[in-house]
């Protein structure tokens, strides 16, 4: 049958063309639905299909899946295809499985079993299909299932070369996807390494990739590969291209293998064995030699392949960094490329040269090409190549050529591309500082830089200029002079104004004797720019003015006028306003000596790593050839007295802010810091602010108050505040963090004594999950009293303090008296009610000794704050206390009457409470009995 139909699968072709001809999405969907039903019918369990049909339908399913529809059947048929003996059927089966991998484990086991069968079969084509499928799926399961089989294929003697090749690549893929589940037996290491010597170049190429990956994981285990790699490399390099028929690519012998071998060698330091080392050097030498030979073909592929090997060889030379002859030769070779017509080649040459410049052996060699590189910078059309040229110039710069290079870069900066300007500015700033012999030159360059590149000058650059000036006494007057000159230009960039402003403020006096720059002229010049500046610059200039008062007392009046001016004194910008106000006051009330101390010249900055380098590294962490790496080797005069200064430029701004904090803002400041967390104590009355009170002792605290601290330990402080509205309490909890770290995972809950029959209805808002150090959070909510209760609810608070879970449980001192409302009545009324409440459980009488001095007023206050009224003049004895209250619960309102009779002679009290509901009187009496 298949012979008649052939392998063409006409049905599939028709189906695909039908789908292509569909006019709309709906039509496509209809066609697919129809086909799916058809396939389902065919795939029914009771029908038998021959392999060809199965293949055809699986193909259709695959096509439908690739169109973006879900396929939920047909896996079984696809897996069945795997066990077919025909290549096409097997292939389709594998294709389906590698595209639609079903996640069900049962199916996976079946698939793995089939793959295993194929891998163990004798047919190399089937083995290869299976390996391809494993690599395509590349899952953890696959890696664990075949962790032994595939390496065995790779090292066994009787597998044929194409299979070995596939096995190596399959292993590489598994190694990349799930390196931990692939465990290679160490016994195989040697044999895997020996694959480098394989007769078949394809196997060797595949093996190098695998070994390279394995070496990255475990360099020591595969150390042996270096020898083999070098010998293999030398064999390829020294042989003629005619020796490798299949593996010669446009007259270059096995370029891929060469490149991979050279990469592999870059994983290791230069070989110790002198023979191997000399052999490797020979190889590299030969590669460099070959580059000199005339091209064997005009085709671009030939030169590409040759250059690929060459660049990889140069990379290896740079990596080894020990053979000066090779380094210099490489450098010369790259120099030739600099003038090549190919842009890519020039780019690569510049990039490699950057690395070469960092090596002590080739640094000088690189310097020879300075002229060419500068030309490249000027004439190159591609901006990325120009960028590389800038990098190279930066890398090759040293004391001898610094002036030239900086000058060139500065001239180029004016026309440079916007994308690289900021980086160039940084580089110029760094180079000119690093190699400056004369700091006047440095200052000239920097001011010119700021003038040319204004917007691209980052903050760090001009901070740095100021640091240098402040730290070097010898250039200060020169700095003041040129800064003054720079300011005279009609259009000044803001950065320039900042630098000039600062410098004049500090060292303006050094040039004041010159009639061209008297104090008044300096001041007026600076002030002419004042209104063109942004607020930050203005505040800086205000500080300069202040410094002028100290330097030149004769212009004090002018400065004060300006400070007093509305645009400053009442500026909408807070910073300017504050400075103007404070400076004005400072100048008015302070004596000249005080002023002189306050406005003293800035002290030198501490020396640290230049912020510019930090900034440059931030900007492009990878592209830089580390210039600081060469500092020990370059003859450095800048090591000691060079202005390697403060990490962050502290300028006037900061100093100013410090002043404020210590002085004028103190009051505000303290309020703020108190406000953070001490607030919780601020509402507690002094009597109770014994902070370390244990929770149980403090339990009755809330009896007479509406706010208190209910819990406190070293970590947390919990406060409460209640507000009474009949039967509902509005509650606010305050959680204060007393530590210096965050409290996280906060949770709090209130549990009742009897959950099934609750006497309180609690409704709290969710608490924030974390509290910042020394901060406080609030949780509000309501508590409703359903009926009178005796047991206090429990509060549970849990949180993490420095990742240690903490749990706090304590009774919430929410006594029933909180729900009592005062009731006023006259004596008739009072006694009428008193008499009505005469059932035995309605009354409770307690006689107890006085704990506190028997003060009438205090007692009265306590009773009042307990919640009920203190009715004076009802009882005949003025010493006695009488009162009434209504206890509000949701269920009912309970009237409460009390009578407290002190006996001063016996130091005893008699408390009688009558309530309309039985039992409540006893509870209230219990609360009060030890409180007087």
């Amino acid at each position: 049958m298949p012979n008649i139909r052939g392998d063409a699968m006409r049905g599939l072709a028709v189906f695909i063309s039908d789908i292509r001809n569909c006019k709309s999405r709906e039509a496509e969907l209809r066609r697919i639905n129809k086909e799916l039903t058809n396939i389902r019918q065919r795939f029914r369990a009771d029908k038998t299909l021959d392999g060809y049909q199965k293949k055809k339908y699986v193909c259709k399913l695959l096509f439908i899946f690739l169109l973006g529809h879900d396929i939920d059947f047909g896996y079984m048929e696809a897996v069945n295809l795997l066990s077919s003996n025909k290549y096409t059927e097997k292939q389709i089966g594998y294709l389906f499985i590698s595209v639609i991998m079903n996640s069900s484990s049962e199916m996976k086991q079946l698939i793995i079993q089939n793959i295993r069968n194929d891998i163990q079969s004798r047919n190399p084509i089937f083995i290869n299909l299976a390996l391809q499928c494993v690599a395509n799926i590349g899952e953890r399961e696959m890696a664990t299932a075949f962790t032994n089989e595939i390496p065995r294929l790779l090292i066994s003697g009787d597998t044929i070369d194409p299979v070995k090749q596939s096995a190596a690549l399959c292993l590489l893929r598994l190694h990349r996807t799930s390196p931990d589940s692939l465990q290679l037996n160490t016994e195989w290491t040697a044999r895997i390494i020996h694959l480098l010597n394989d007769q078949h170049l394809g196997v060797a190429t595949a093996a190098v990739s695998l070994i390279d990956a394995l070496v990255k994981r475990n360099p020591d285990e595969y150390k042996g590969c270096v020898n083999l790699a070098v010998s293999r490399l030398s064999r390829i390099v020294t042989s003629s291209y005619t020796d490798f028929q299949d593996y010669t690519y446009y007259f270059v012998p096995a370029p891929w293998l060469c490149v991979k071998l050279l990469r592999l060698l870059q994983n290791y330091p230069p070989p110790d064995d002198p023979s191997i080392r000399s052999r490797l050097n020979e190889c590299l030498d030969t590669i460099l030699n070959k580059a000199q030979e005339p091209l064997k073909s005009k085709k671009v592929q030939h030169s590409n392949a040759r250059n690929a090997v060459l660049f990889e060889a140069i990379n290896l030379i740079i990596h080894m960094d020990c053979e000066s002859t090779l380094l210099v030769r490489a450098c010369n070779q790259l120099g030739q490329f600099l003038q090549n017509r190919e842009t890519n080649l020039r780019y690569l040459a510049l990039e490699s040269m950057c690395l070469l410049a960092a090596s002590e052996f080739s640094h000088e060699a690189v310097k020879k090409h300075q002229e060419t590189v500068i030309n490249a910078l000027k004439s190159e059309r591609d901006v990325s190549v120009r960028q590389r040229a800038v990098d190279l110039l930066y890398a090759m710069c040293d004391r001898s050529n610094a002036e030239d290079i900086v000058q060139e870069m500065l001239t180029y900066l004016e026309t440079a591309d916007y994308t690289i300007r900021e980086e160039m500015v940084l580089k110029i700033a760094i180079l000119s500082e690093k190699y400056a012999v004369d700091y006047k030159w440095y200052l000239d360059i920097m001011l010119k830089l700021i003038r040319i590149a204004g917007d691209f000058v980052s903050e760090e650059v001009w901070y740095r200029v100021i640091q240098v000036v402040v730290n070097r006494n010898d250039v200060q007057s020169y700095a003041a002079k040129i800064a003054f000159e720079a300011l005279q230009a009609p259009a000044c960039h803001e950065n320039m104004i900042k630098v000039a402003g600062y410098i004049l403020g500090e060292y303006g006096n050094l040039i004041a004797l010159d009639p061209r720059s008297t104090p008044m002229i300096q001041f007026e010049l600076l002030h002419s720019k004042y209104h063109l500046c942004s607020p930050t610059t203005r505040s800086l200039i205000l500080s300069t003015y202040m410094k002028f008062i100290n330097l030149f007392p004769e212009i004090k009046q002018h400065v004060q006028d300006i400070l007093r001016h509305d645009s400053n004194f009442r500026s909408s910008d807070v910073e300017i306003q504050q400075r103007a106000t404070e400076y004005l006051r400072l100048s008015e009330i302070c004596s000249p000596t005080v002023l002189a101390t306050v406005l003293e010249i800035m002290p030198p900055y501490p020396e640290k790593q230049s912020p510019l380098l930090v900034r440059l590294k931030q900007k492009k962490p990878l592209m830089e050839a580390e210039p600081s790496g060469e500092t020990p080797t370059t003859p450095g005069a800048h090591t000691d007295d060079g202005p390697k200064l403060a990490d962050t430029a502290i300028h006037l701004n900061q100093q100013h802010q410090q002043q404020q904090q210590n002085g004028l803002l103190v009051s505000l400041d303290t309020i703020e810091s108190n406000g953070h967390y001490n607030e919780s104590t601020s509402y507690s009355l002094p009597s109770s602010s014994v902070p370390s009170a244990a929770p149980l002792q403090s339990a009755k605290k809330l009896l007479f108050k509406n706010s208190d601290i209910i819990f406190e330990n070293d970590i947390i402080q919990i406060g409460i505040k209640v507000e009474i509205m009949k039967s509902i309490l509005r509650v606010e909890f305050y959680y204060g963090n007393k530590t210096n770290s965050n409290l996280t995972n906060m949770s709090s809950s209130i549990s009742l004594a009897d959950e099934l029959d609750p006497d309180l209805r609690i409704n709290m808002e969710p608490i924030k999950s974390s509290i910042d150090p020394k901060a406080q959070i609030k949780q509000a909510g309501t508590i409703e009293c359903i009926k009178d209760y005796g047991n206090l609810p429990k509060m549970n608070v849990a949180f993490f303090y420095s990742n240690v879970p903490q749990k706090i449980d304590f009774p919430l001192p929410l006594y029933i008296n909180k729900f009592i409302e005062k009731a006023e009545m006259d004596s008739n009324n009072y006694f009428l009610r008193w008499r009505n409440l005469d059932k035995p459980d309605q009354e409770c009488q307690k006689i107890f000794p006085a704990k506190f001095p028997m003060n009438h007023n205090e007692c009265s206050q306590k009773l009042d704050s307990f919640g009920w009224s203190d009715l004076a003049g009802i009882d005949v004895n003025a010493d006695n206390f009488c009162g009434a209250g209504i206890l509000h619960t949701t269920a009912q309102q309970i009237g409460c009457l009390y009578r407290l009779e002190p006996n001063k002679q016996a130091k005893m009290y008699r408390l009688t409470i009558r309530t309309s509901k039985g039992g409540v009187a006893a509870r209230l009496a219990e609360l009060l009995e030890d409180q007087f």
Partner: protein, 451 residues
């Protein structure tokens, strides 16, 4: 206000693009194509908001019609306009298809210029438009014709020109209703309503005034209260129809009166008269027009009842039995009956058995389609199907409802034409001389039963 109107073919290529307002940019056309026509997930919303621009669209066969607006605009108005535009195009060149749109694009732009002005809809009556937007070449227009057009567009009776003459005065009236139903498995009516319309075709001379009476509850009740003021309906007012209402006693009319939830009229109907006297009187436009639309929700006689019975036997088998009962007078005959029974997507084979008509498994739609050409009233028919499934444990099938379509020769809402009279004062033909044809058609809208 409508910012622009676009017409696309099924591929999303722009056939017509007319922008009325500056706030609609050039990229709006593409935004709609990318986000709606070519969207991965088919959009289910008639209004789509993309970048603060609203797109209102409908699809006719393979053509997308889309109106764009930047402002917060009355969406119902836009859709009304789009539907009207489709009607106009249909009356000009028949079916809306890509080819027709391409062949008539000059005409469509001309129409778009006329019916929308700076985004505000204008006169969209096909009859009036046809009087001055023609498909013939330019021809000299007489002064008389010019004034006619002007008065037609600007005058009081914009929809009818003067001096129409017919040898035979004829009047056709169709009551077309579509019944919408959602019924639960147990036969409980979950929701139902009838959307009806009265379409007319008039071939009358002169400027006739017509009066139209229906068995609306309010009108009927008005009439019973003061029977003197209304004209007595006569037999010949609704001639030529078997189901026309006969003049009966007032008691009988109240019984058959229906409650109309809401209705709307063609612009020719004098609304003031409708409001005060609740009578529908109008001067009809010449030719075809839609006199009124209405909606009822109460006392609807459902023409068919579908009783499904689904039984799942194991994971691989399913039995479906569907019984259809016709529920109207045995003298009437329902036509074009089609019942669509959705089946699970993992169906692999279906065995069908039906007593009447033809049933087919349409695998492309995952449904069984059962068709019957006709079915008499008070009859019953049954279909049973055995469905074989491939086991699928992924998701449960959520059984979409069984839908049905049909056509019956009566109005399921009970809507009846009581009379239709024509008065023409200048020309001397009387009401009895005009020939009137009344027809009732009940169609299915969304007629679904849950299974």
């Amino acid at each position: 206000m409508i910012g622009g109107v676009f017409i696309y073919n099924h591929k999303g290529e722009v056939l017509i693009s007319r922008v009325y307002r500056d706030d609609i940019g050039r990229n709006a056309v593409d935004a709609f194509r990318v986000n709606v026509i070519h969207a991965r997930q088919q959009s289910r919303f008639p209004v789509v908001n993309i970048a603060r621009t609203s797109f209102f669209y409908t699809k006719r066969s393979n053509i997308w019609l889309c109106a764009v607006a930047k402002q917060n605009i009355n969406a119902a108005m836009v859709f009304e306009f789009l539907n009207k535009m489709i009607d106009i195009m249909q009356s000009y060149f028949g079916k809306i298809s890509e080819e027709n749109v391409k062949n008539n694009f000059v005409l469509i732009y001309e129409l778009l210029d006329e019916i929308l002005d700076f985004g505000y809809p204008q006169n969209s009556d096909a009859g009036v438009l046809k009087s001055f937007i023609t498909q013939q070449g330019v021809r000299p227009v007489t002064r008389e014709e010019q004034t006619n057009v002007t008065s037609a567009v600007t005058g009081q009776i914009g929809w009818r020109r003067e001096g129409i003459k017919y040898r035979r005065n004829e009047l056709f009236l169709d009551v077309i209703e579509s019944v919408n139903l959602l019924m639960s498995q147990q036969g409980q009516v979950l929701s139902t309503h009838v959307a009806g319309r009265v379409a007319m075709k008039s071939y009358l001379s002169g400027m006739p005034e017509c009066k139209f009476g229906i068995n609306d509850k309010i009108t009927v009740e008005n009439r019973t209260k003061n029977p003197g003021d209304s004209t007595n309906p006569t037999n010949n007012s609704t001639a030529n129809n078997s189901t026309n209402p006969t003049t009966t006693t007032t008691a009988a009319t109240t019984k058959t009166a229906i409650a109309i939830d809401d209705c709307q009229f063609h612009q020719c109907v004098k609304l003031s008269k409708f409001e005060s006297e609740h009578s529908i009187s109008f001067i009809p436009p010449d030719g075809e027009f839609e006199l009124m639309r209405y909606r009822t929700t109460k006392d609807i006689s459902l023409p068919f009842r579908v009783i499904p019975l689904v039984r799942e036997i194991g994971r691989t088998k399913m039995e479906v039995k569907v019984v259809v009962k016709s529920n109207f007078k045995p003298t009437l005959i329902g036509q074009k009956i089609e019942i669509r029974i959705p089946i699970p997507p993992n169906t692999c084979d279906v065995q069908l058995l039906c007593m009447k008509g033809k049933a087919k498994h349409k695998s492309s739609d995952n449904a069984i389609v059962w068709k019957m050409k006709r079915m008499g009233g008070m009859k019953e028919s049954q279909l049973s199907a055995e469905i074989e499934l491939t086991p699928n444990d992924k998701k449960k099938w959520n059984r979409p409802p069984i839908s049905m379509s049909f056509e019956v020769p009566f109005a399921p809402s009970g809507f009846k034409v009581r009379y239709l009279k024509v008065f023409e004062h200048k020309l001397n033909y009387s009401d009895s001389e005009t020939i009137k044809w009344v027809r009732y058609i009940g169609k299915s809208g969304l007629y679904e039963t849950r299974s």
